[in-house]
């Protein structure tokens, strides 16, 4: 142990030399080691060039495929590279993209024709086989968000070089809208997994990607089959901190930030060089009651649930906490969805709340509100404000906040612990009221056995109505049926309060032509850069 290997005693000058060189080499090597790999990905300046559009996303875009990963802003970018047969355009109407014909020929059959002359960015033509493979791959991947939107996946029957039929077992009247979620990739390259590379038919192709950091550079495809996009390059950056995004937009480091919070919108309003865009949204944020309460619990009584809603000053919440960037819900789903019905509104009347609660014997009620951080914008502030409003009508409230990744799902399914109200945001990516209604209010006793009925909401009559509407091929009859179901749901008072956040986006004024859709995405080909 004490023995050291034989070592010739070096002369002093040599010794100092070793020491010096070591220090020098160490410093240089350390710096080089750390900095070298990055030299490639960092440019000289942070500001985007004249022909480059820089988008700041608050979630990391893991890939440009959407089998496992689809959130609003991602759709914008994913569709600039890969396209689907259709897209959901303005007014929630399906617009043809790769298909130039998409018609229902029988309740369970659709006839589709691919557009003539469309090619992938590498020049290969789009074939029916590509579509068939894409549908199959989406079906095979586990845990797909897209798959959950489909009541069933259609089967593809080729009838010609460019034409094919889509078959379903049950009628799926909104299939033309649902198919907007299936992105087409060459059959040879498609696999039942998130594709990390490869080509699409879109106006842009990927020229640089660092998916770990969520950064992408897209460049215009020279021979795009459609109209040539105005912007030459698009850079996608992942900026998780909201405050950083705001600051970066102010300084011109970013050109567009989407899905901004009400507070960011307030901070950006009126700033020179910044413009805000907003449309009514398709996401519904609810303070949903727990429908798994025992029969004798006050909250099992619709009248108590209604009485509590009088305690909430929705107007003030929208004005002061959400800074005007939301609307109180006036129906059980956002009114911008196709097939949504205006069913009533929330009224603020604390005296009535107190009185009703007393007459129903529910005074002295204690309520536990739970939610996950980030479930919706300003979630914490909303919850703290609601708790204070409930206190004013004599209801004691405790707040239970889950951090992302925590156990809230178990609690939601009634397996975690007891709760009374949950703060929940629900997306409406298909633009259809029926999809959202099915997910929330069509739960059956069988679903509930595994805790899968939405917050325990089981009402067989309503569930039947909704499922009937979902398979109704005639649009007018479907809307009638759905409207009736929505009125029935409203009368059960499922929420303490609900609101529909507006879809907000901020851009530099040099960016023009962002047609922000309620589904919170926009068409990159229409965007222009001025100056």
């Amino acid at each position: 142990m004490t023995r050291t290997p034989p070592r010739t005693t070096p002369t002093p000058p040599h010794e100092t030399l070793t020491r010096r060189t070591l220090l020098r080499w160490g410093a240089a090597g350390g710096a080089g080691l750390g900095l070298a790999p990055l030299a490639a990905c960092a440019g000289p300046t942070g500001a985007p060039g004249p022909g480059t559009l820089t988008l700041g996303l608050n979630r990391s875009l893991v890939s440009l495929d959407n089998k496992l990963n689809q959130f609003d802003a991602a759709v914008t970018v994913q569709r600039a590279v890969r396209q689907a047969l259709t897209a959901i355009g303005p007014g929630m109407k399906p617009t043809p993209v790769l298909a130039d014909r998409f018609e229902m020929t029988a309740p369970t059959t659709w006839s589709v024709r691919l557009r003539e002359g469309i090619r992938y960015s590498d020049g290969r033509p789009v074939t029916v086989e590509d579509v068939a493979t894409a549908v199959r791959m989406y079906g095979e991947v586990a845990g797909s968000f897209v798959l959950g939107l489909f009541p069933e996946l259609p089967s593809v029957e080729a009838t010609g070089a460019r034409t094919f039929l889509l078959h379903t077992r049950q009628p799926v009247p909104v299939l033309d809208r649902l198919m907007a979620n299936i992105l087409i990739t060459p059959a040879k390259d498609n696999r039942p997994e998130e594709l990390r590379s490869g080509v699409g038919t879109g106006p842009y192709r990927v020229v640089g990607a660092n998916s770990g950091a969520g950064e992408y550079t897209l460049a215009r495809v020279p021979r795009y089959w459609g109209g040539r996009p105005a912007v030459e390059r698009v850079r996608v950056r992942f900026v998780p901190e909201e405050s950083s995004r705001v600051v970066a937009l102010r300084s011109g480091e970013l050109d567009v930030i989407d899905t901004i919070t009400p507070d960011s919108a307030e901070q950006l309003t009126g700033l020179p060089g910044v413009h805000l865009e907003q449309t009514s949204g398709v996401r519904l944020c609810q303070l949903f009651y727990n429908f798994r309460k025992p029969r004798d619990h006050p909250l099992a009584d619709a009248r108590v649930r209604r009485a509590l809603t009088y305690a909430i000053d929705g107007e003030s919440l929208v004005r002061d906490v959400l800074t005007g960037s939301a609307e109180q819900a006036a129906g059980v789903v956002p009114l911008s969805l196709q097939g949504a019905e205006r069913t009533g509104s929330f009224v603020h009347d604390p005296a009535r709340a107190r009185q009703s609660l007393k007459s129903l014997g529910a005074d002295g009620l204690r309520i536990r509100i739970m939610w996950e951080s980030g479930e919706f914008a300003a979630d914490t502030s909303v919850m703290e404000a609601v708790a204070e409003m409930l206190k004013d009508v004599g209801v004691r409230t405790s707040l239970l906040q889950f951090e992302p990744g925590g156990d809230i799902l178990k609690w939601r399914q009634g397996k975690g612990g007891d709760w009374d109200v949950i703060g929940n945001g629900f997306p409406g990516p298909t633009g259809q009221a029926v999809t959202m209604l099915q997910a929330m209010y069509a739960g059956t006793a069988e679903d509930e056995r595994t805790g899968d009925a939405f917050m325990g909401y089981v009402d067989p009559a309503i569930a039947r109505r909704i499922s009937d509407a979902a398979t109704e091929a005639d649009p007018a009859a479907r809307d009638r049926e759905l409207a009736a179901a929505q009125h029935a749901v409203w009368d059960t008072w499922p929420c303490l309060w609900a609101f529909v956040p507006k879809t907000l986006l901020a851009r530099r004024t040099r960016v023009e032509g962002i047609g922000l859709l309620p589904v919170n995405s926009y068409d990159l080909t229409a965007v222009r850069l001025e100056g």
């Binding site: 405050s243 102010r250 307030e266 002061d320 914490t380 502030s381 951090e403």
Partner: protein, 301 residues
Amino acid sequence: MTTTLAPPERPSAVSERHLARSSAARQRRGARVKLWAGAFCTALVALPVALAGLLPLADPNTQDLSRRRLPPLTDGHLFGTDQLGRDLLSRLLHGGQVSLTVGVLAVVVSGLIGIAAGSAAGYFGGWIDTVVSRLLEAQLALPLLMMLLLVVALFGPSVTVITCVIAVAQWPEVARLTRSLVLVEREKPYVAAARLLGLRGWSVLARHIVPNVLRPASLVVLLLLAQAVLLESALSFLGAGPQRPFATWGRIISDGQDYITTSWWLVTLPGLVIALLVVGVNLLGDGLRDRVRTHKPAKGV
């Protein structure tokens, strides 16, 4: 020592002024400045926090949505109001009670663990020393903050858990110091005497050695307290703070971070309060250490 021997009338070239400029005097003065400044800063924060319940302050949880984000010094809100119209000063002081309680408790716990482990390792050596030293070393390599976040996720963000987590993060410092002190102490004659008198290892350690190392070891306590307050606020900042409605310092800052471009006080003032307290505690600890060093130059730490 020499001054008392010298007769007062004897002439000396060393005047009072020379003495005052001597290195030792300057060191003492420096320590005194640090002590006073530290005590002042600490008291400036700690006293109002301790007396938060008695001060004429708005309730920390009462909201007034029509008075959101008022700048400081408006409508009787000394520090302004937060995003829900709550009085920021009141929230800071009440939040400070949680943060400080966590800090103090964490230091006590880490002190106990550290002194026990460090003195056992130093006195007994052998496998105990190996295990403790390995643990100390391993903790250096661990992604500590991440482990803390994990444990908080595991056991829930209660005050107890966060206290323990911070204590675990801090014990190595105490242990390392105690170990080195005990290593010196154990070679001293009084230990040999105690052994000769037939005392067993544990009682020698507990009754003779530990009391002797306690004083120097306790000097790091204040420095640890400063770190504990910082660590707690970092955890709160990353979302692993005590469950709401407890308003801890880190949580107030992370909630206010979204408003930096419009409401500077929501982040700046809480940060200043933390910094003031931690500076105070650090200075106090530093001053104490300096004073011990100048008084007993032989016993370096």
